[in-house]
Structure formats: structure tokens, C-alpha cells
Symmetry: C2
Subunit: 375 residues, 2 copies
Amino acid sequence: MEKLTEWNNCSRPHVIEWIEQLKDIVWDKVLTCLTWMRPSWRLHLGHYKGALENWVKLQNNPNIKNNFLIADYQVLWDHLWDTDRLRSSVIDMVIDWLAVWLDPEKSNFVIQSYVPEFAELFNLLTMFTPYGVATNNPTLKDEIKKIENRWEWENSSISLWFVNYPVSQVADIMLPYWEIVPVWEDQIPHIELARKIIKKVNTMYQTNFPLPLAMISETPRLVWTDWSDKMSKSLWNTIYLTATLKELKDSVNKMYTDPGKTNVQAKWNIENHVVFKYLDIFYSDKQHLEELKRRYIEWWENSVWDWELKKLLVKILDELISPIREKREYYKDNMDLVINSVERGSQNVREIWQQLLSELKEKMGIVGYGREFIK
Amino acid sequence: MEKLTEWNNCSRPHVIEWIEQLKDIVWDKVLTCLTWMRPSWRLHLGHYKGALENWVKLQNNPNIKNNFLIADYQVLWDHLWDTDRLRSSVIDMVIDWLAVWLDPEKSNFVIQSYVPEFAELFNLLTMFTPYGVATNNPTLKDEIKKIENRWEWENSSISLWFVNYPVSQVADIMLPYWEIVPVWEDQIPHIELARKIIKKVNTMYQTNFPLPLAMISETPRLVWTDWSDKMSKSLWNTIYLTATLKELKDSVNKMYTDPGKTNVQAKWNIENHVVFKYLDIFYSDKQHLEELKRRYIEWWENSVWDWELKKLLVKILDELISPIREKREYYKDNMDLVINSVERGSQNVREIWQQLLSELKEKMGIVGYGREFIK
């Protein structure tokens, strides 16, 4: 058993498997954790399984102090013409958070743009980041590829903000003294960049900003209900946390299942069977699930039909979503609680982060010019 | 005669010749002016003639409200390892300002890093700036060329900050509601960029940020005393505002003069004669100067010798510098006045600029998320 304070040093791998791995560690201090989400649209089951459910675990761990960041700048840059939608996405997202039992009394809900210290630190960090390193980030390269031709003004297709954004994320990490960063695997380069920049700052100014550990989620990304490559709002190929029972039934009924099932001679397989994919993730009775799978690929007399599986999935998902739905309604009728959660959370952290930023500026030597001459 | 408020619209050229041209305008409102200087080293006569002397004129114009910006970020990015020098440069520069009669009671002395609102606005403005436009700025391209190989970390020679810097300058312009911008001719592309971005913001959010006019200085850049291409601290080829009489004499004595002068057969010419270049700029008795030039290029019996010209120049420059020198000493003994000037100036503008920034964020729709749902 290793002490937590010894865990994070430069020589060991700085990627760990989700929170389970932390069980082997002696909690000799409280960890700070900041996770973020983009308020880009309504939250769906993928957000729930991939993030929110784990956030609730984090929140219930007394050794972790959680800050949940609403990364509005990460949506704003691409929605300058349409901030009304950003506004409703922010509020919808916070309501969803509250509805899945994230608790603003235990954790801070922080809106990025409510904390100007981020921008100030970000501006400083760009000085520590070689231009080449910033633009070499693979996530950025991929994203640049994706968004080409989407944004057009003069001859350029992307904004300067987008090139800066990995560094602005490092500011998001650095200020809250982030130590554990729950991320998807493809976000690891961001954490690598953060570690490089933070090391540089620590070396130059004898500061103690922690080097963040990436914590990989154990949950695979959910497939879309139509087995397509990406979410499509127009195709409604995902299930939102706001789904009514009817929407839930519609979505599940349209789910892609094994095409071989229509051919009695074919060997049943469940590789591309979306309903089973969802059951894998959401059905807790694993024994029964194995039995269903066995019967599904067996000879047809004893078989399970798609409609039975779908009915089961609807039942399971509705058990999950209906309390969320109810809590959403409660918070929609009590908007002051929603607004208060983010305003108070942002204010709470600002006080601490202002302090951290001043200390950094002090060590850098860019505060109180001339005061050294006064006896 | 045109009213000032009608002067600045998009269809007319937005570059004017120094402040003289503003005489033809009816001053129907007070103009805001923000000029900046980089605290990179001690100020020399070039700064005095190219900027400070004009700043004093601006300050004495009751129709102009002046803010003088100490652009410390513009030096910091390249001096992260050496902020002690930045600190002393800042203070030396402010003392020089005070010593040439800039008055913190009339104008605001503002330190860039004391006003976090700049960083916040800068971060927003990067969203409005296409990456291509930001990196196409000719001044930036030139500067990138100049600094290549100077900054090395991993494979990159310049920092991300440097690529951002024209946009960070737009934030410096935009927040103070800049209307007139005294600049060198090579800085005009910065003003063009500012106008583009500000127009974009004004159009999108019905804001009224003024489009800044570039105001070109009437004074040519001073040549270096050794007629070389650039200032060199090791060669001492410039005359600092801190120069003692002895340093002044040494500098003037080393000044490059016409090499033909040593050959009696050659026709005297004054084209590369540094002493005359300085007299052109600093000697107010133009009639006498013309006479000296005439005699210098005439036949030798009636001629003026270099030592006479140099003696005259030393006298003139000492008349200029000695009161500055004395005032410097006074402020060095009263550092609280120096510190107070920048702390109060920065605080004065922060209050106004916080207000401007909140108004912008309000119009953009990124404040008070959810408040629209509360009756």
C-alpha cells in the first residue's frame, strides 16, 4: 500500500484506471478533482454512464473534493451567433446534474466564464507554451480536421481560440490544483500537455502545482441506437435523460439488432446487437443477461425474440430515467435552486483560485512593481 | 470643419497625420487615447522624440483623456527567466515618464498585468479572430522571422503567446474605448486588425466600441549614434534619458560624421552625418542650423568643424536632459510617488473597464445564466 502523496511523481505512469485503482492507496490527504462537461446540447445516456454516474461515486468519496466545471467557453467559441442556445444548454445541463444526485452542497458547480482568473492564467500559460507544441496536440489536429469548412470568415476556417483551447484547458486544470482528471482515453494528450507546462512553471518559480493524473473511465462509450458512427440530432439516435416513456419506447424499438435474426439458417450473433450492448451496460442481473444471450444465439424454438429484449430494456431504462425525470420537473419549478448552485459554486472557488493566482504572480515577480524599493 | 463625432466612419481613411491634423476638427467630445510602451530597457532619446514629447502634447490637450499603458506582458513573454530585469525596467520607465512631465494627476498610468479584464477580453476576442487572419498579420510575420532560433523548447522557436499578441493588443485597444492610437507606421496592420475585430463584435452584439484611428507620429525614428541598423546595448550606440554629462559627451564624440571631411578635395555632404541628424531634430534655431550646414559643405576656410557641431549638440542635449536627470533623482528618492502613480492609475481604469466588459458580456448573453427564467 502506497501513500497517496507518494503516488504522483514523474517517473511512474500517470494514467490510472478509474477510481477503483485508487482503492490500493492510503488516503493520507484529500484529493482535489475537477471534471468538466461542455454544455453543448441535452445530456443523454452516454453522458450518464460515461461520466455522471462516476461523478456521483466521486462525490460520495469523502477523500475527494470535487469541482464540476461547466465549460461554456468551449461551446461559446462556435456559437457566437447563437448564445441563446448556449444559455439553455447550460441550464438544462445543470438541471440534469442535480437530477442525477450531484449535490451542490458537497461539490462546487463552476461556470468557466464566471471565473475570470482562468483567462488571466491562460494568458500567462501561453507564454510557457511553444507554438509548435500547442499546434502539435493530436486531439487538436483531429478536431481541426473535423471542423474544416465549418467556420468561414475571410480565408480562415478556424478561430484563434480553437488553437489556444488546449492551453486554456491547462489553466482550468492548474488553478483548481487538479490531481485526478477523469477523462476519455483520447483526451490523454491534453493531460500530457498540462503536465509539461505545469512542470515548466514549477521548475521556473518553485511553485507546487500538482501534476495531474489522468483517470480513465471504465465505461466504454455507448453506441448510438442506430449503430451509426456519430450522434445525429436529426436522427434522434440517442436517448436523452429527459426522455418520456413514449420517447424511450420509440428509441428502443428503432434500435438496430442482428440482421441475421431474420434468416433462420444463419448463426445468431450479437456482435452488432444494440439492444444487447445497452443491456450489457444497464442491466445489473448479469446472470439473467448471459442466459438471454445464450438463448438468443441458440436454435429458434428456445429463442428470445427482439421484442422481448426491447421490452426488458425499456423497463430497465425507465427505472433509471423516471426518477431523473421527476427531479428535473422539481428543479424546473425551483429555478432559484439551479441558479444558486452555479453562482455559489463559482464564487466559492474564485476565492481560493484568486489566492493561488496571486501567489503564482508573486513568485513570477509581476506584482507590486517597485515595492522592493520601499523600506 | 467637421465634427469629431462624424470624423470616424468606415468609409474614410482611418490613418491620420499626428495630432496637428486634428486641429481642423470641431472638438464636440472628449477623445480617449491609450498609448503604450514596452518596459524593455531604459528609455533613450528616440523614445523621447518619437513618443514622450508627443504624449506631453496629448496630455496638455484638454479634449483628450489619456491612458498610458505599461505593456509588461509584451516583455514578460520573452523574459520569463529574468523578471527582475522586467521589474526594474517598469520602474525606470515610470520614473522617466514622470521626469519628462507626464502627470499622473492628468493621465492614467496603467500597468497591463494589473488589469485582469484585458486577459478576459483577450480570451473572448480570440473567438472572433480567424486563425488565418491572426497569423497573416505582417508585423507578426516580420517579428516571427526576427526571433526565430531565439526561443527553444522542444521543437518550437516561438511561444503561443506571441501568435496571440496582436489580438491581445486589440483587447488593450478595445477596453479603454480607444479612439486615437498614436503609432509608428509599421503598426498600422495592428490597427486594421483591431478595426476588423471590433466591427465584428459591434455588428454581432449591437455594441458601440469605437473603431480606432491610427495617428502617425511626425517624428522620424532617430538614427543610432554609430549609424548602424539597430540599437545595441553593448555598443552603447544610443543616448539614454539617464545620461550624465560625461556619458553625453562620450556618446556625441563617438558619433559618425561624414568621412569625406578628412579629404579636403571631397565635396562635403551631410547625408550620413549623425550629428546633423540629431541637430535637425533637437536644435530649435533652424536658421542657425541652416547656416551651419551651408558652411559645413562650403570651402574649408569658412567651414565648421565636427568638434564645434558636437560641442553644440552636447550643449543642446544637456539642456534637454539635465532637468530630466534632476527630476529622476527626485523620484528615486520618493519611490512612493512612483508606485502610487501606477497603482492608482490602474485602479482608476479598472473600475470603468470592468463596467465595459460586463456590458459586453451581457450583450453576448454569457452572464447570469438562467436568470431569464426567474420572474
